[in-house]
C-alpha cells in the first residue's frame, strides 16, 4: 500500500445466501480526498461501507482501511475512523454538551481534551444559546453539523459519512459541505455517500455502484465527459438505466 493510500480495496465481495450484494469491487482512496460513493438503493453501497468500517466481515477479497486489515483488525479501524449516518448520529434526549462528552469518552479523549473540543465546537458552529438544549429539539440541519463535528472529535484520519444531508435545507447543506471541505483541506479523508447528485460534484472522485459492481470510477469532470452529460445526475441516470 502506497504512503498516500488510506483505503485499499481489492476484489471485495459479500454474499448473503445466494444473493451477491457486493461483487468483486476494487478501488483505492488517497489521503485528503473527498471520495463520493454513489449508487441506487439496493446497489450494495451500504453493505460495502459496513465492511470498510469493520462491522461486517467480507465473504472474500481484501481491504485495508488506514493501514488496518478489515478481517483481523476491525477494532483498530473503529478507533481510527469517524462515522456518521443519517439514521443515527446523536442522542435526541441528551443535550449538545452531553452528547459531546459521551462520544468524547467513547473515543478515549481525556476530560480536558473533551472540554476543549466542546467549547471549540460550540463556538465554531455558533451554538452558544443551545448548548444546553436537548439535541432532539434542534432543527435537522444543526443536528447534522454537530454530528459531523462529533465524528471528528478524535481527529480521525478517515471519516465515513452515510447520506449525511438527507432532508436538510439547502443553506445548511452547503454549510455542511464547507465543513467537509475544511476537514479535507486539513488532511482528513472523506468517504461519503449521497443521493444529492449536485453533492457528487463536490467530490474529488466518484464511484457509482450498480447491482453490486462498480460501474464507473473517476473525477466528476471526466465522468461527465465520458458519458456526454451536463451533470452528475445525468451520468447517474445513464449508468443506472443501462
Amino acid at each position: 500500500m502506497m504512503e498516500d493510500t488510506v483505503i485499499q480495496v481489492e476484489g471485495l465481495t459479500k454474499v448473503f445466501g445466494d444473493f451477491t450484494a457486493v461483487n468483486n469491487i476494487s478501488f483505492h482512496v488517497n489521503k485528503g480526498e473527498i471520495f463520493g460513493f454513489l449508487g441506487a438503493n439496493g446497489a450494495g453501497k451500504t453493505t460495502a461501507m459496513k465492511m470498510l468500517i469493520g462491522i461486517s466481515a467480507p465473504s472474500s477479497g481484501l481491504a485495508h482501511v488506514a493501514g488496518f486489515d478489515v478481517y483481523t483488525q476491525t477494532e483498530s479501524i473503529k478507533k481510527t475512523i469517524g462515522y456518521m449516518s443519517q439514521k443515527f448520529a446523536l442522542y435526541d434526549d441528551l443535550t449538545v454538551r452531553e452528547n459531546i462528552r459521551f462520544f468524547g469518552g467513547i473515543y478515549g479523549l481525556t476530560k480536558t481534551r473533551i472540554s476543549q473540543k466542546s467549547n471549540q465546537l460550540i463556538e465554531e458552529l455558533g451554538l452558544e444559546k443551545v448548548a444546553k438544549s436537548l439535541v432532539g429539539s434542534l432543527p435537522l440541519g444543526w443536528k447534522q453539523k454537530i454530528a459531523f463535528s462529533v465524528a471528528m472529535l478524535h481527529d480521525p484520519k478517515i471519516v465515513f459519512l452515510d447520506e449525511p444531508t438527507g432532508g436538510v435545507d439547502p443553506i445548511t447543506r452547503r454549510q455542511f459541505w464547507e465543513m467537509i471541505y475544511k476537514a479535507a483541506n486539513n488532511g482528513t479523508t472523506i468517504f461519503v455517500t449521497t443521493h444529492y447528485m449536485d453533492e457528487a460534484e463536490y467530490c474529488d472522485r466518484v464511484s457509482i455502484m450498480v447491482d453490486g459492481r462498480i460501474e464507473a470510477l473517476d473525477t466528476p469532470k471526466n465522468l461527465k465527459h465520458h458519458y456526454r452529460s451536463e451533470s452528475m445526475n445525468d451520468v447517474f441516470l445513464k449508468l443506472a438505466r443501462s
Binding site: 438503493n41 435545507d169 439547502p170 464547507e178 449536485d198 451533470s231 443506472a240
Partner: protein, 301 residues
Amino acid sequence: MSIVIENISKSYGKVSALDTISMDIDQGELYGLIGPDGAGKTTLFRILTTLLLPDKGMATVAGYDIIKDFKAIRKQVGYMPGRFSLYQDLTVEENLHFFATIFGTTITENYDLIKDIYVQIEPFKNRRAGKLSGGMKQKLALSCALIHKPKVLFLDEPTTGVDPVSRKEFWEMLKRLQEKGITILVSTPYMDEAALCDRIALIQDGKILEIDTPGSIVKHYPKPIYNIGANNTYRLIEKLNTYEHKHSVFPFGEYIHYTDRRDDFNPKALKNYLETEGLEDIHIEKTKATIEDTFMELAKQ
C-alpha cells in the same frame, strides 16, 4: 378549487409548525410543496387529511370542510404518509385487497388507474410488503392510495431517501396520473423535482416563502448569479467568503454560485483578485437562477 387553505396555523407547545398558511390548489393540478425537514410539510398534510386539527384558520378539500366534514374527506382522498405505512406482514396483493375492501371497492373496479404502477410490482405480488425494496414499497403505497379512485391525492415526501433513478420514474408516474384528472399535492425536499410541478409553494419554518410556477418563481431572484470555478474549490470558497463585496457564496455542483452586492459588478475585477490570491484556472460566467437559489434567497430574508 380542489383545495382551499386559509390562514392555517398550528403549534406544538411553543414550537410553531405552521404560521398563517394560505394556498389554493386547482382541480387536476400537480402541486408541489417544496421545503426541507421541519418546514411544516407533514403537519400541513396531516391537517388536510383531517388527522390533525389546526389551531387557527380553515381549509376545504374537494369542497368539504376539514373539521366539520372530515368523514366525507376520509372517504374520498388518497394518502401516502411520509414513512412506509402499509402492513409489512401482509403480501403485496393482500395489502391492495385490504385497502380496496375497506374503501368499499375491488381491485378490478379501478385497475386501469393503477395498472401502469402495479405491473411493475405484480411479479412480487405474493411477497410480504416488508421484504420489498424501497422503490417497490413506494409503488405499492401509491397503488393502495389510488385503488379507490380518490379525487385528491396527498403524497408526503414520497421520494425521500430514494435514488435519482427511482425518483425520476416516480414523477413520470405522477404525470400520467395527472392526465386522469386527479388533483395531486406532493411534498418534497428535492428542489429539482419542483420543476416537474404545475405550481410550487416554497415553505420553510412553517411559513410560505413564495408560490408560483417553476418557470416564474426564479424571476423572484433579485440579482444576477455567476458561476465561478477554480482549481481549488475550498480555497475559492474561502476567498470569496472573505471578499468585501460578496452578497452570497454557495457551492453548486462543480461551480460556486456567486452574487455581488454592487449593481455595477465587474467580473474581471473579481478574477484579478482571485488570481492575486493564488488561484488558477479561474472561470466566471453568468448563469440562470435555479429554484434552489431562489429558495435560499427567500429563506434568508
